[in-house]
Structure formats: structure tokens, C-alpha cells
């Protein structure tokens, strides 16, 4: 038996627990996988013989597919498990689920859960690598990594860029992971949202600047990152209406005009056209990096799977 790898390498639970060198290394590896993914033969054998379980407590198509492709391209046996609300109602606790799956000896668990901290809780009860594919409103580290890779490939760097993250910051794990990662790599981050969607204490602990006005927030920005607004939050609870939200916080050509002329538009998807972003803006291939993000997603997840299983290959 090889010595147990350092704990920080066993799981990928959040950007907060990654060292800057680890982030750089993941981005480097992912960059290499981008080319592989563009070839007709996309298959490697790095994860051959390993079992990857995608355990999703919250429905997701794109993230799960992205992880599935990433695992398969590296040669892993990939199993998808969707735990719907019905299974939770049967009374099995998260820890029971973790221990049950652990007994099947997976090598990697990719977990999405609707509660913040749930993936870390599960990780404490399994003996394999765990990747957080989104936990509640806490973190979504692979999304932040793929966003960073997208920016790096389109702009050549991250340090010194001004990134405006706009929309439902309060309920967004994507925003939290991106704030942590982008500020770590030297970007200036601005948050643009109505006050009801900006949680307390952001400014001081993350060193970000807050805006309630899109034009002011986008002024001179290099990157405009839009967030999805969940439909249940549009009808009066956090914002008065869809049309009011679009009027003041939706991304249009007009508002984008205050950003740099070459500012890049990003969105983690799935988009609500006509809510947080005008469809025409989203579809402009010169300005929108939205499909790049999807492409980088597979590469970044391959890199994460690769890094987290390296100790297994070294032990063999």
C-alpha cells in the first residue's frame, strides 16, 4: 500500500481549499486536454480500470454529461446515479448513501447536492476521491476552473483583468467559486446585482466592489459574467418581475457598451434568454464565450479526474 496522499489532494471540494499552485497545475493539464478533445480519437487510458460514480442529488444535464464524457475519455467506467426527491423521502440519509456507495469501491465520486457543505460531509465517509460538482450555494469549483481556463485562452492571462459578475450572487455557488478563484489569480472582481441578490459581507472578505447599476458596474470591464436567475426568484420575492429585472440587470448591447469594446461575455448556463441576457448578445460569436465554457468544462473535469487519481497510478 502506498502512503495516503495529502488530504487536500484526495478531494476537490472547493476553490477555497486549493493552493494557487494546484489551481495553476489543473489549468495547465486541462489546457492540454483541450487539444485532445478536438481530435477524432479522444480516448486515453489514464483512468482505465477505475470506477467513477456521478452522484447527483439535484438534477443537471450539462454538468453530469460533462463529467461523464471527461471520465469516459480518460478510460474510466462511469456510472450515473440520480437521487431524486423520492429516494430522499424513503429516509436514507446522506451518510447512508455515502457508505453504501463506498462499499462498491468506486475510485472517484462526483457529487452534486442541494445543501451547502453536503459534499464535504459525504467525503468524510468514503475512501475515494470526491469532486464537488456543486453544493447548495457554497461552491462549484470545476465551473470556476473552466471559466478561468476560458478566460486564459481567450485573453492570455487573468491577472489584471476586470471581471464583472452580474446577477443572482446570493444564491450562486458559481459566483462564490469564481470570486475566490479570480481574485486569487489577480483579477479585479466586481459584483453587479440588485441589493436583494447580494448577500451580506461580500465586500470585505473577498475584496470585491459592489454595484447596483449595470452601466457603472460594466464600465471598462474585460469580462462580463452573467448568472442565471432561478424562475422562483423572479416573481416578487427577490425581484419584482421578470421584465423589471431584464430592464435593469439583463445584459443588452446597450449596457454592454460601457464595457471594453472587446469585453468577453460568459454565462454558466443554462441561459434564460430575455431575463438575465438578451439572446442576440449571447449568440454573438465574437463576444460570447459561452460555448467555449462548455468545451473547457470537459477538459477541466478531465484534469481534475487525472490529478485526483494520480496517486493510484503511482501506487500501481
Amino acid at each position: 500500500m502506498a502512503a495516503a496522499p495529502p488530504r487536500s489532494h484526495r478531494h476537490l471540494l472547493g476553490i477555497a481549499s486549493l493552493a494557487t499552485e494546484e489551481i495553476e497545475a489543473l489549468l495547465e493539464t486541462a489546457d492540454g486536454f483541450v487539444d485532445l478533445n478536438r481530435r477524432s480519437d479522444k480516448k486515453l487510458a489514464l483512468l482505465r480500470g477505475l470506477t467513477q460514480i456521478n452522484l447527483f442529488f439535484e438534477s443537471s444535464t450539462r454538468t453530469r454529461t460533462s463529467f461523464e464524457l471527461a471520465g469516459k475519455r480518460l478510460g474510466a467506467d462511469v456510472v450515473n446515479m440520480s437521487v431524486g426527491a423520492s429516494a430522499i423521502k424513503k429516509g436514507e440519509t446522506l451518510i447512508d448513501t455515502a457508505m453504501t456507495l463506498n462499499a462498491m469501491h468506486p475510485d472517484v465520486l462526483v457529487v452534486r447536492h442541494h445543501d451547502s457543505g453536503a459534499v464535504a460531509l459525504l467525503a468524510r465517509h468514503v475512501r475515494c476521491a470526491v469532486i464537488n460538482a456543486g453544493d447548495g450555494t457554497h461552491e462549484h469549483p470545476t465551473q470556476a476552473l473552466l471559466d478561468a481556463l476560458t478566460i486564459r485562452r481567450r485573453r492570455g492571462r487573468i491577472a489584471g483583468l476586470t471581471v464583472a459578475i452580474c446577477g443572482d450572487i446570493a444564491h450562486s455557488r458559481v459566483a462564490r467559486s469564481n470570486i475566490l478563484l479570480l481574485t486569487r489569480l489577480g483579477a479585479r472582481v466586481r459584483l453587479v446585482a440588485p441589493p436583494t441578490l447580494l448577500p451580506a459581507g461580500m465586500e470585505r472578505q473577498y475584496g470585491v466592489t459592489l454595484f447596483h447599476d449595470m452601466r457603472a458596474g460594466l464600465e471598462g470591464a474585460d469580462i462580463v459574467m452573467m448568472l442565471r436567475l432561478q424562475s422562483e426568484r423572479m416573481q416578487g420575492s427577490f425581484v419584482p418581475s421578470l421584465r423589471e429585472y431584464f430592464r435593469f440587470f439583463g445584459l443588452t448591447w446597450e449596457k454592454l457598451a460601457s464595457a471594453r469594446p472587446d469585453a468577453l461575455i460568459m454565462h454558466p448556463g443554462p441561459m434564460n434568454r430575455g431575463v438575465e441576457i438578451d439572446g442576440v448578445v449571447a449568440d454573438d460569436i465574437d463576444r460570447s464565450a459561452i460555448l467555449d465554457q462548455v468545451e473547457m468544462g470537459v477538459a477541466v473535469r478531465m484534469a481534475c479526474l487525472d490529478h485526483l487519481t494520480r496517486h493510484l497510478r503511482e501506487a500501481a
Binding site: A16, S116, G117, A120, G136, R173, P199, A200, G201, Q205
Partner: protein, 434 residues
């Protein structure tokens, strides 16, 4: 009747009279027969058992105003016998049981059931509180008169606030007919709904739904208007914010019949405990900021805060080993109440008598129960403690059926050595000298 006995050479501490002196205390027939510096071994009759207690403190047994017994309904988390054993080990001789059990204590027969079960144990005195509203649902008044006759020492919906201002107004007004103490859980429910911890930077970083600090003071300010209108005796079960302390201080200055309590965990811990999604730091009201903690200590020291109570809330592992947002609120506290409170004295934040007063005579007076004082003729409900004894809190060391302590692994100074109720020893620490 058992033989009379006397503790000798101990530091007598009576917050009610301000007595703080080395001396002895004589117990005869379950009552305090004599006490003071004049009581020495050589002056006692031959029939009296002498108990050397040099270096120890003798105080009135603690009165804990907020305890959840687990019965009825949650016997897998705590039973009356386990709660009482925990109380005795913690130096508590009287406790007020919160009525938010399942079913809630809103009926005289239920109340008598709990009181009878506790009496049978011949140990710590259990005084049930009754629901303020029927079923604790905040809609209709509970039978306050009948419940009072059945022994209810206070009226409260436990961990739930009475949200409806009209219901609260009527409850307070009605309570004055029986001079009943109304205890509120100060948390505006609409503001607190769905919240899991204090709203602020930590909650934002952890991605947890927050309970804003203003949820507490808003409800208190509303209720104070109702108290002013009715004259009812009003107590805030546990406050957690600087704003609440400030408002209560001003209300007392205006002469309103208001009092309030805090818990040891709010006095010693902050929201930082939640880091790592530690569900054992999930309590209601939530742990707040360092500024709030400082304000609570200042309030206790200047008398704005009347009571320190454990808010003992047993939760089993299944209620706590879940994602933070799903975890149940509450910590056990009976066995750490004294030691945790003593930290403030060791740190020089408050005098020993003032501190003990908040756990003895003041809660006893609010509840209208005997106990909480060292006086000739009073029941011999006593706490003998070693103020400097170092010990570490461990789950295994707790007598509660549930082990959800917020202080796991923490070293405290000060611990009960012996606990007596009506002159009977209900707890004696085996490894202690006395």
C-alpha cells in the same frame, strides 16, 4: 430523619445576601439550620457529621430556567431520568422544563405527568413551564389559570416565537390576571424563516441561509410595547445580539417588568464555530459575532441580563449528522452550564457572586420557586464545587443521552463536586476528595 451534617472550611457564596466568606453550613432535616464563619468543627455537637470542604465553594444549587427533558415524545434523545442525572452532575438543583415537547405541555394533565415522573426520581426539582398558546401554535391562548394551578412556573412556546401581535397582546394581558411570567423566544419568524445561522460574512462564504440579527430586536421592540400596554411580567428566554441587550437595558430603565437570559454558548462562542459546517454549533438563536458576545457579557456584568440558562436541547446523531441546513437546532448544556459560566469569572469579566446570582436567586425569583439562596430555614439545595478543577468535556463523559455539546474537547476550570437537594446528595463526584 437522617443525621445532621455540616460542610466546614468552605467558601460560602450566597448571591442573594452578598455573603462571601469562609465558614460552615449546617443541614438538618433537609433544611439549612445554620451557616457562617462561626461554624467550626470544634463548636458542633457530637451528633453532627462533619464534612471537610476546605478549598471548595458552597453555593445555592443552580436553577436552570431552560431545559428540554426529551419527554414526552423524544425519549431516544433524552429522558427525564437522564436529564435529571445530567442536571445533578452539573450542580443544578432546580430546573424549568420547556413545554415544546411532543405533544407540547399545554394541558394540566400533561404537566402533572411530567412533574410526577420527575418527583419519583427524588432528585433534582423539575418545574414544568406550560405553553403560552394551545399546542404552542401561536393562535389560541392556553389554559393559563388551570396550568398555573397544575404547577406551571412560566408560560412560553419554547423555541417558537408568538408571531401574531394580537395573540401576544392577549396572552400578556391574560397572564396578568395570574401574575404569570411570559417567556418569549425573541425571533421574528418571517425574518428567521429558513435560516440556519447568523446572517453575515460567514454565512455568505459557507453558502448557508442566514438569520439576520435584526430578527431578534424587532420582535423584542414590538413585545415591549405590548408589555407597556399590559404590565405583564415578560422574560426573554435567551438573547443573542448587542441590539437586544441595548433595548432591554433601556426598557429596564423605563421601569418595564422585563428580564432576559443568555446561554453559556452565546457567552463563549461566535458564528466562527460554524466553520466546517459544524452542526453542533447550530443553535437557536444562532451564535452571533464577537461584538454581540462582548455586549452579552457586558449586559450580564451590569445586570441587564438577569439569567444564565443552559437551553439544554438534546439532539441525537441522526439530527446532527446531516447537511447543516437540515440539522436540528440546539446543544446539550446542563453539565457544562457551571463550568462554561465560570470561564467569565476566571477571565475577570464578572464577579463570582454576580455570576452565581444569574444561575440561582434571580431565576428562582422570576419563576417564583423556592431555592437559589443560602439562608437559615431554606431548603438545603446546595452546590459544592471546586472552582479551579480542570477538566475536559468529552462526549463519553456526558450523562445526557444525547451528546450534542458545543464544547466537545474544551478544557474548563471549575466543576461540581457534590450536589444536594433537600439535604440529600443527588450527585457526588467519585474522583473528588469530598
Amino acid at each position: 430523619m437522617s443525621r445532621p451534617f455540616a460542610f466546614l472550611g468552605c467558601r460560602l457564596l450566597d448571591p442573594a445576601s452578598g455573603l462571601d466568606t469562609v465558614g460552615g453550613l449546617l443541614v438538618r432535616d433537609g433544611r439549612i439550620a445554620d451557616l457562617g464563619p462561626h461554624l467550626r468543627a470544634d463548636g458542633l455537637g457530637p451528633d453532627i457529621e462533619r464534612i471537610a470542604a476546605d478549598g471548595l465553594c458552597l453555593a445555592p444549587g443552580l436553577v436552570d430556567m431552560r431545559v428540554r427533558l426529551g419527554e414526552p415524545g423524544s425519549e431516544h434523545k433524552e429522558r427525564i431520568d437522564s436529564a435529571v442525572a445530567a442536571a445533578a452532575a452539573g450542580g443544578v438543583t432546580s430546573l424549568a422544563a420547556l413545554p415544546d415537547s411532543r405533544p407540547p405541555l399545554d394541558d394540566p394533565a400533561m404537566l402533572e405527568f411530567v412533574a410526577r415522573r420527575a418527583r419519583k426520581l427524588k432528585s433534582v426539582k423539575v418545574h414544568p413551564c406550560a405553553c403560552l398558546t394551545r399546542g404552542g401554535e401561536g393562535r389560541q391562548l392556553a389554559e393559563m389559570g388551570l396550568l398555573r394551578e397544575a404547577g406551571a412556573v412560566a408560560f412560553t412556546d419554547g423555541g417558537r416565537a408568538v408571531a401574531d401581535a394580537r395573540v401576544m397582546l392577549r396572552a400578556l394581558a391574560y397572564a396578568t390576571a395570574f401574575d404569570a411570567l411570559v417567556v418569549q423566544h425573541p425571533e421574528e419568524p418571517a425574518l428567521a424563516a429558513g435560516g440556519a445561522m447568523n446572517e453575515g460574512a460567514v454565512a455568505t462564504r459557507l453558502g448557508l441561509p442566514g438569520i439576520p440579527s435584526c430578527a431578534e430586536v424587532i420582535l423584542i421592540e414590538r413585545d415591549l410595547r405590548l408589555v407597556e400596554a399590559t404590565g405583564a411580567r415578560y422574560h426573554l428566554g435567551c438573547v443573542s445580539t448587542a441590539a437586544a441587550v441595548e433595548v432591554v437595558r433601556a426598557a429596564k430603565a423605563r421601569g418595564l417588568p422585563v428580564s432576559c437570559g443568555v446561554t453559556p454558548h452565546h457567552l463563549l462562542l461566535t458564528e466562527a464555530e460554524v466553520e466546517g459546517y459544524r452542526t453542533y454549533a447550530k443553535v437557536s438563536p444562532p451564535l452571533r459575532t464577537e461584538e454581540d458576545r462582548e455586549a452579552l457579557i457586558a449586559g450580564l456584568a451590569d445586570g441587564t441580563v438577569d439569567v444564565v440558562a443552559s437551553d439544554h436541547t438534546p439532539q441525537d446523531q441522526d439530527s446532527k449528522r446531516v447537511p447543516f441546513a437540515q440539522a436540528a437546532f440546539g446543544v446539550v448544556g446542563l453539565e457544562t452550564l457551571l463550568a462554561a459560566a465560570l470561564e467569565l469569572w476566571h477571565d475577570g469579566r464578572i464577579g463570582l457572586l454576580e455570576l452565581l446570582g444569574a444561575m440561582t436567586v434571580r431565576p428562582a425569583a422570576l419563576l417564583g420557586i423556592e431555592g437559589g439562596r443560602l439562608a437559615v430555614g431554606a431548603a438545603a439545595d446546595l452546590l459544592l464545587f471546586d472552582p479551579g478543577a480542570r477538566w475536559t468535556v468529552t462526549e463519553a463523559g456526558l450523562r445526557s443521552l444525547s451528546k450534542n455539546t458545543a464544547f466537545e474537547g474544551r478544557e474548563f476550570r471549575g466543576r461540581a463536586v457534590r450536589t444536594l437537594v433537600d439535604g440529600r446528595t443527588v450527585f457526588a463526584r467519585e474522583d473528588a476528595a469530598t
